[in-house]
């Protein structure tokens, strides 16, 4: 199991979510964050006060996947989030010690395996 943490441009979020969905990656957590990744800093002026915006709005995704899904997920993000400009973001892959699904108590691989239609029906 791995935890994939991706930092992307806000305007690419819809594209990335679509690519993940098409790759059958259905569990994702989205955070709105600010950061700096070497991109040119925008200059803004508010009634005479000129500032250099050191931080840029970004989106951070956290995705827990089983080992067989790591490459699929990373490629989906790389291909959908890329614009070619500085500031497209990063993808980090971390090892995970253990994962639990709260609803069922399932552990590790089973906990990051998407629920099937059948189990989904019974859950409802």
């Amino acid at each position: 199991m791995k935890l994939i943490k991706a930092i992307i441009r806000p305007e690419k979020l819809s594209d990335v979510l679509k690519a993940l969905y098409q790759a059958d990656v259905e569990g994702v957590t989205v955070n709105r964050v600010q950061g700096h990744g070497g991109e040119t800093e925008g200059v803004e002026t508010y009634r005479g006060t000129t500032v250099k915006m050191g931080l840029t709005d970004k989106i951070m995704l956290d995705i827990g996947v089983s080992d067989s899904f790591v490459e699929v997920t990373v490629n989906a993000i790389l291909n959908s989030a890329r614009t070619g400009g500085v500031g497209d973001g990063k993808v980090f892959v971390f090892p995970i010690e253990s994962v639990y699904r709260i609803r069922t108590g399932e552990k590790d691989e089973r906990a990051v395996t998407p629920i099937t239609e059948e189990t989904n029906q019974t859950a409802i």
Binding site: S14, G42, T83
Partner: protein, 443 residues
């Protein structure tokens, strides 16, 4: 029973002018003198209509994603400057100077000869200012069709030229003895002049600019629905000056204009809410705000020609075509982003036609279809089509020319996706200031 008060009134009207004529010829001028009540109401109306453009900025600003909120609101606010100044420089004269069929003249350019003398019963300068507030909001209305994707400089050039080449002449056609006035077209406060005109320009602009990069790819939801409702409320408040003030007097006609403005949008809200309910199962806030605008637009041409009950009928009927057009538009490839054509073009046309249907001779001096004058409906249709065609074609030409000389109407695709606020204005609508470093000028 003899009503002595009425008799005395008649005596005064018949006898006194004759006496005045005999005794003091220079006092005859006083017949055309400034009335303080009328002037007070028109000063108020001018401020009310000016507030509408700020209301429109909130209405439009709330409807767009937050990355474009400033650009969208600035498109309305900059009209205060550009359209307002050009109205004084030449627009007013092109609209109200001379007696040509299609254009005024430049006899009153730079407000030459426009002073505090009486124009009707109010100072000429006030009439000019009141009309200027209409020029401002008409230009700003168009911006809803092109939000989120037009270079700001190109937009300013567009509303500057459009105000002089399209808006001012159309005012002349309808309100200053032009060809549509000659035909007897009815437009009390601007259903055709303002709303069909701006709606046609918006349709043309949306087609020329092409859809936003995001359009049809991802949902672009309103970022602040309370802003949308605030804007609709301010528009309704200001519209009392728009329609009530178009009587140019604090009299029964002004009261009719104001009261029809109060009731017609109410009927639109009721019908729209029902359509919403039967279509989606819920009554939406954005839908209700849109209904207010559609109702206000529809009653505008009729506001000084119909009774409040007919106003309710007009508001109710007007909900249907706009509702279904907007529903169709959102699923089409036409990115008239904030539905300027659906609300103003169609709402204005429906209102103008219904003016020809419901006009009451005792109120505005002209009878409509229901009082046995079916020809008025045809006249209304000709006026709508004439303004629609001229505004649409002229807008396409103006935008194509601006695009050709300024290196394109739109910014680079990747910049547009990041949002217009940063690239056009160097500001953010909701900056936190986190991580911002002060740049101090070197001594």
């Amino acid at each position: 029973m003899i009503n002595t008060g009425k008799l005395a009134g008649w005596a005064a009207r018949l006898v006194l002018p004759g006496l005045v004529l005999l005794l003091a010829p220079e006092l005859v001028e006083a017949q055309d003198a400034i009335d303080s009540g009328d002037t007070a109401w028109m000063l108020t109306s001018t401020a009310l209509v000016l507030l509408m453009t700020a209301g429109l900025a909130f209405f439009y600003g709330g409807l767009v994603p937050s990355k474009n909120v400033l650009n969208t609101m600035m498109m309305s606010f900059v009209a205060f400057g550009v359209a307002g100044v050009l109205w004084a420089v030449a627009g007013y004269s092109i609209a109200f100077g001379g007696d040509g069929q299609y254009f005024g003249d430049l006899s009153m350019a730079l407000l030459n000869g426009v002073g505090t003398e009486a124009s009707g019963t109010i100072p000429h300068i006030l009439f000019m200012g009141f009309q200027g507030t209409f020029a401002i909001i008409t230009a700003a209305l168009i911006s809803g069709a092109v939000v989120g994707r037009m270079k700001f400089g190109g937009y300013i050039a567009f509303i500057a030229i459009w105000g002089l080449v399209v808006y001012a002449p159309v005012v002349h056609w309808v309100w200053s003895g032009g060809w549509l006035a000659g035909m007897g077209a009815l437009d009390f406060a601007g259903g055709t002049v303002v709303h069909v005109n701006a709606g046609a320009a918006a349709l043309a602009a949306a087609i020329v600019l092409k859809p936003r990069q995001d359009y049809g790819v991802r949902a672009m939801l309103p970022h602040n629905v309370p802003f949308v409702l605030l804007g609709a409320g301010l528009l309704w408040f200001g519209w009392f000056g728009f329609n009530g003030g178009s009587a140019l007097a604090a009299d029964g006609l002004g009261a009719t204009g104001a009261v029809t403005t109060m009731f017609a949008p109410g009927a639109t809200v009721v019908v729209w809410a029902l359509l919403d309910h039967f279509t989606t199962g819920k009554t939406t806030a954005v839908g209700l705000a849109t209904a207010i605008v559609v109702g206000l637009v529809a009653i505008t041409p009729a506001s000084g020609f119909v009774t409040p009950i007919f106003a309710i009928a007009i508001g109710a009927i007007a909900a249907f075509p706009s509702y279904y057009f907007i529903k169709w538009r959102t699923s089409s490839s036409l990115d008239d982003s904030l539905d300027v054509f659906g609300a103003h073009g169609i709402g204005g046309a429906v209102g103008a036609i219904l003016t020809g249907v419901f006009a009451v001779e005792a109120i505005g001096g002209t009878a409509g279809l229901i009082e046995g004058n079916p020809g008025q409906v045809l006249t209304q249709v000709i006026a709508i089509l004439g303004v629609l065609a001229y505004s649409f074609i002229a807008t396409v030409v103006i935008l194509k020319v601006i695009g050709a000389v300024s290196g394109g109407l739109r910014p680079a695709a990747d910049l547009e996706l990041r949002g217009m606020d940063g690239i056009a204005h160097g500001e953010e609508g909701y900056a936190t200031g986190d991580g911002a470093v002060l740049i101090l000028e070197d001594e």
